[in-house]
């Protein structure tokens, strides 16, 4: 049994990376309990073998009442086990408390598991299908409620967070080793062959900020029209607008300057810079005839050059 454990430990289980601040703490508890368990099981196995091998001794039949020496051993055994229980609990409580208390200033990421798999929403509104994390910085994970209970498990972090059906929950993690790790839910009764696996990407030093900048928007030093075009693609304008004349939830920007812009109150507006900027920052101020006022406001969410770029881009479309 012991050799088996060691054998197994040298293969798969030992290769599990230790990639978060929790991993060493959990491993420590795990190893402590494991050695204790192995010790006791080996002791019990030894006692078993001794009894079986030395059974036919000629000693007189025991009375079943323990001698005072044996009784003392049993009593101290009980005492030691109670103390161990207390010790285990105190140690466990510290590790647990660390897990519960989200450090201040942790980077917030919203986590949801839906029919289409995991989604991770970043502070700038960007929705990723992989979990991107900075190294050595605490991240607050805000789990969104779902119809089915799920867990967020990343073995490399030694982290598993259960999220009850229909409930929200917070947890946090601080990655300590760059790399890509498996992320899944251990509660998937409906699909026991698909664990809802996703990747967790821990970026090396500086890598996360660069990634975040990339998802945050285009480089601001591009020429305005090009900047506007990138922004148009990255900021989700394409969900409602097109540039080829197709009408979606919103109007197409094709031939923007040449077209008539008639509002719901019948007024026709001049398609100048101020109007475009107002449409982006306060879209319900002037609502186009034939459309619903559903466009979200981008006020405060785009840097000034990007707005200028969008205006230039929209005006440039023939």
């Amino acid at each position: 049994m012991n050799t088996l454990l060691l054998l197994a430990a040298t293969t798969d289980a030992a290769s599990l990376p230790s990639a978060s601040t929790f991993a060493p703490a959990v491993d420590q508890t795990f190893l402590l309990a494991a050695w204790f368990a192995v010790f006791l099981v080996v002791l019990a196995t030894g006692a078993m073998l001794l009894v079986l091998a030395g059974g036919r001794s000629s000693a007189p039949a025991g009375t079943g009442v323990l001698g005072s020496g044996a009784r003392r051993v049993v009593q101290s055994g009980v005492l030691v086990s109670v103390l161990l229980v207390a010790g285990f609990l105190v140690h466990g409580a510290f590790v647990w408390a660390d897990l519960q208390v989200v450090p201040r200033g942790a980077l917030p990421v919203q986590v949801a598991l839906g029919d289409k798999g995991w989604s991770f929403t970043y502070p700038n509104g960007y929705v990723a299908t992989e979990l991107h994390l900075p190294i050595d910085r605490p991240v607050k994970l805000r789990f969104q409620a779902a119809r089915e209970p799920y867990t967020f498990s990343v073995p490399a972090f030694r982290l598993q967070v259960p999220v009850a059906q229909g409930e929200k929950r917070d947890a946090w993690v601080q990655a300590t080793l760059a790399g890509e790790y498996e992320l899944f839910s251990t509660l998937r009764p409906a699909s026991p062959f698909a664990l809802a696996t996703a990747q967790t990407v821990v970026h090396a030093e500086g890598g996360y900020d660069k990634w975040y900048q990339d998802i945050s928007g285009p480089p601001l030093d591009l020429p305005p029209v090009e900047l506007g075009q990138r922004s148009y693609q990255m900021r989700g304008c394409t969900q409602c607008h097109t540039v080829d004349g197709t009408k979606l939830v919103g109007p197409s920007f094709k031939g923007f300057l040449a077209r008539e812009h008639k509002l719901t109150d019948g007024q026709v507006v001049e398609p100048n810079d101020a109007y475009i900027q107002e449409s982006i920052e306060d879209p319900t101020a002037k609502v186009l005839a034939g459309f619903e006022p559903v466009m979200p406001s981008f006020k405060g969410r785009l840097p000034e050059p990007e707005i200028k770029g969008l205006i230039a881009y929209i005006k440039s479309l023939q």
Binding site: T29, S57, L66, A70, V78
Partner: protein, 508 residues
């Protein structure tokens, strides 16, 4: 008070058998507890074989690359769990050994209420039949622990299985009441016998009673859980509150308020059997002491109070979770007390080494391993990480296989000479025992390590790095099958061959 050695000593011989020749037929309506035990053993044996073959199929699935059929896989692990939990783990020792051992332990002819005893068996057999119908016609696919909310929306029929569980819950109440009545009645004066004090009861009678008390008291909680789920599924009432948050947590709380004591009762029954095997092997009385009875009482209380460990970290307050952890850890103390006491007692005197004793000792090792694995599942840091993983599966199997299979075999081998009136063939018995000991570790040590890798339970897809361990686990479960079949054959052969020996003698 009966001397415990009466039970174990071989009394095989044609004279003894001759007096039993009138006992023919299956005994479907017998009031004789020995024959009823045989009926229990028959049904259980079939459920056990079906259950472990399903287990082998489950272990094989991820390593064999068999086509993935989610529903078939779910049904397989559900029926494996239902058959083995409800037809073997919980009723095995009370049904088979309770009926054989208990009357003799307390110096009675049979159980106090033979008709209630028969009713308990009929409810058990009805449950087994309902599971069989379920298995053939509409297998449940919700996991044996009825995973809500999946169990609410599952389109597999689960009505047959729920009915089976209901029938078994009633059976547990009847058989539990009977055990307690038998023990209480045995103390009364009668048949030229003086009334006896509680302190004269052997330890095993206390342990059997404790097990019966817990199992019977817990069973109605299972009934509540079953009714809640049935009402919810049938649309009769929003019993679990399926659309309000936390339905999973609410149902699991009900379920484990039953489940935790139910498995506590399973362990208590195993303690009853194994203590008797040890005392008898050492040629001494199985005396109940203040210490050992207090340990039983502690286990009874903790098995009811400790159910919180099954929902750790899932929404209860920090205080509740800490309390549940502490109670879970403390449960180890009375067990440790009993085990160390027994080992010292065994070391103290001359021993008859038998297959029964060997199984008894293997049980101690598995109890130790399962108990210690349980520590990981209640210590806050590891508990959070390991829940829903194979670690929990392996921990549970160490205890359930240890108590329901190994301790059962310890007792069966122990009573075999007087129950089956045949001489145990120790060589084959020991070999099967050794194979089981090895097989269990090869199956479940890798499974514990799979849990450390994060491998979810009830899942046919493996996480990174899990392949070798899963393969070992499958090898181990094959060994367990070989060991169980060997033990069964060893027992049967002892009866068949001794019978043919005699036939030979008669012909000469």
């Amino acid at each position: 008070m009966s001397s415990s050695t009466d039970i174990g000593v071989a009394k095989a011989g044609s004279a003894a058998r001759a007096s039993e020749t009138t006992e023919t037929g299956l005994g479907l309506f017998t009031l004789d507890s020995n024959r009823l035990a045989r009926m229990y053993a028959l049904v259980m044996g079939l459920a056990l074989v079906a259950g472990i073959f399903l287990a082998f199929g489950l272990a094989l699935q991820p390593v064999s690359g068999a086509p993935a059929d989610p529903e078939a896989y779910r049904r397989m692990y559900t029926m494996h769990g239902l058959a083995l939990v409800f037809l073997v783990a919980l009723p095995a020792i009370p049904g088979v050994l309770g009926n054989v051992m208990l009357p003799r332990l307390v110096g009675e002819e049979g159980m106090a209420w033979p008709r209630l005893n028969l009713l308990a068996f009929h409810l058990f057999a009805t449950g087994a039949l309902l599971f069989l119908v379920a298995f053939l016609a509409a297998p449940a696919d919700t996991g044996w622990s009825l995973e809500v909310p999946f169990a609410i929306s599952s389109t597999s029929g689960i009505a047959w299985s729920l009915a089976a569980m209901l029938s078994l819950a009633c059976s547990f109440v009847c058989s539990g009441a009977n055990v307690i009545a038998t023990v209480v009645q045995s103390r009364r004066a009668g048949d030229g016998r003086a009334a006896r004090s509680w302190s004269e009861l052997p330890f095993s009678a206390w342990a059997f009673s404790a097990a019966a008390f817990v199992q019977a008291l817990a069973a109605p909680i299972l009934v509540v859980a079953l009714v809640l789920l049935f009402a919810q599924r049938s649309g009769a009432a929003d019993a679990i509150g399926a659309s309000t948050p936390g339905a999973d947590l609410r149902f699991d709380t009900w379920f484990w308020t039953w489940g935790h004591p139910a498995f506590g009762a399973m362990l208590l029954a195993a303690l009853a059997v194994v203590s008797e095997v040890f005392a008898s092997s050492a040629g001494r009385k199985n005396t109940a002491t203040v210490g050992s009875v207090s340990a039983l009482a502690a286990i009874v209380v903790l098995s009811f109070a400790g159910a919180g460990v099954h929902v750790l970290g899932r929404g209860a307050s920090a205080g509740d979770d800490a309390g549940a952890s502490a109670l879970g850890l403390l449960t180890g103390v009375p067990f440790a007390y009993l085990v160390t006491t027994w080992l010292f007692q065994l070391a103290g005197g001359a021993l008859r080494v038998t297959t029964g004793l060997a199984y008894g000792l293997v049980f101690l090792v598995m109890l130790c391993a399962g108990g210690m694995a349980g520590v990981f599942l209640v210590l806050p840091p590891t508990a959070a990480y390991l829940q829903n993983t194979c670690f929990a599966t392996a921990q549970f199997h160490y205890l359930a296989v240890g108590a329901a299979l190994v301790a059962l075999l310890a007792g069966v081998y122990h009573v075999w000479p007087s129950w089956a009136r045949a001489t145990v063939r120790e060589g084959g018995g020991m070999l099967a025992c050794f194979l089981l000991f090895i097989g269990v570790h090869i199956a479940f040590v890798p499974t514990l390590l799979l849990g450390y890798l994060g491998q979810p339970r009830r899942t046919g897809a493996l996480v990174a790095g899990a392949d070798d361990l899963a393969l070992w686990s499958a090898v181990g479960s094959a060994l367990v099958i070989v060991a169980v079949v060997l033990a069964g054959w060893n027992l049967l052969a002892s009866v068949l061959y001794s019978a043919s020996d005699e036939a030979g003698k008669d012909g000469a």
